[in-house]
Symmetry: C2
Subunit: 226 residues, 2 copies
């Protein structure tokens, strides 16, 4: 490799790590704002409660902390985990698996809330994009497992599949971010929130979630210049 490319690569290593750090910070900020919202303004979280609102609250919490935050961290595992490639790959796969499990519990909370309240499932835009994203995500995970973890696929197949896996994964992260934002928008509009402090808290929470997504994306995409 000639020296100018080496120098060029070195220059981009820092901004990409800077994005990884922002991703952690915005992710933790979003979790904190989410907890303030659910514990202080709403009635807390309990999947087994008779109070439908406490059951519902498990949904936004697990869909962000359990699903979106986890998939973001899993995407950055190749940068944040100081271990050999094989270990990084297993951690990448394992955190995504945890995200699927917690995501299923989070989805269950929304369906359970609808059942208690006698509401219909899956009519809103939020639910359509959400179900679509979650299903495609599970397919992407299975596709990744088959292509990159199990020994069947040749190196050539892996090289051909990699850009789709990486860029498709980034698109899925943005789909999940869109789902979270439409969910918060739906809830705030449904509750008629406008100028209350709760409305502003939800807006800041949504912005933190969006900035988490953008930072993860830039950490991965700028990292490809490293």
């Amino acid at each position: 490799m000639d020296q100018s490319i080496e120098g060029h690569r070195y220059r981009y290593r820092r901004p990409a790590s800077c994005m990884t750090v922002s991703a952690h910070l915005f992710g933790i900020l979003a979790i904190m704002l989410l907890l303030v919202w659910l514990l202080h303004y709403r009635e807390g979280l309990d999947l087994e409660s008779y109070n439908a609102n406490r059951v519902f609250n498990v949904h936004p919490f697990l869909m962000f902390f359990g699903f979106i935050f986890m998939i973001g961290e899993a995407m950055m595992a190749y940068k944040t985990v100081g271990a050999e490639r094989k270990v990084q790959k297993s951690i990448h796969m394992f955190i995504h698996f945890v995200a699927i499990v917690l995501g299923i519990v989070g989805l269950h909370a929304a369906f359970k809330f609808h059942e208690i309240k006698g509401l219909t499932n899956l009519y809103s835009l939020h639910s359509w994009i959400g179900i679509g994203t979650f299903s495609l995500f599970c397919l992407q995970w299975l596709f990744g497992l088959g292509t990159f973890m199990l020994s069947g696929a040749s190196n050539e197949t892996r090289a051909r599949a990699a850009p789709w896996h990486v860029n498709g994964g980034r698109a899925l992260l943005y789909m999940a971010i869109c789902t979270a934002l439409t969910g918060l928008m739906e809830k705030a509009t449904y509750m008629g929130l406008r100028h209350q402090s709760e409305a502003r808290l939800i807006n800041f929470l949504a912005i933190a979630i969006l900035l988490f997504g953008i930072s993860v994306d830039l950490s991965v995409s700028l990292g490809r210049y490293v």
Copy 2:
């Protein structure tokens, strides 16, 4: 360049163009669904009307057709315009400029609607993300103009700025998509739409907008392997 890399590059040219074609198709589909919604279900579009709803309808139309669709097409200009690089660059810049102008008219329609109806501006999540995205987009345009069009910047500066310009632009596209989706979600929830055919039309419109964004993104990001 060795032959295996040449072969490798060749292989990815097709999928990237395939994404460019899907982007055009989903973009046109979204414009058609948007027009069906605004002309058939709503009261049509007219910025100078005394009917507040007709003024409002200019907003979603111009923010998608005038802004999001244009920026997507501008991002893909390096692939779709069969001309030398300099011409492609000018077209890329010019379509983005058109998007800014039409975006300003689209934003004006929303403010005018609020004024007629006596509603407060800029309280919702949709408006916060929208204003943020539009402002950052204008900065990105000025930054691009200064760095890549005007002759002041050295080739080294351009090479350093390029990954930020490309990846930042992709993140801005997704921010715009998130804004569109929260806007449609807000409108549908506010109007209390659930099981009507209009509700379903809005959901399909939002999905077409999302798939347009994803196709443009993949066309650009997979295209970097070409």
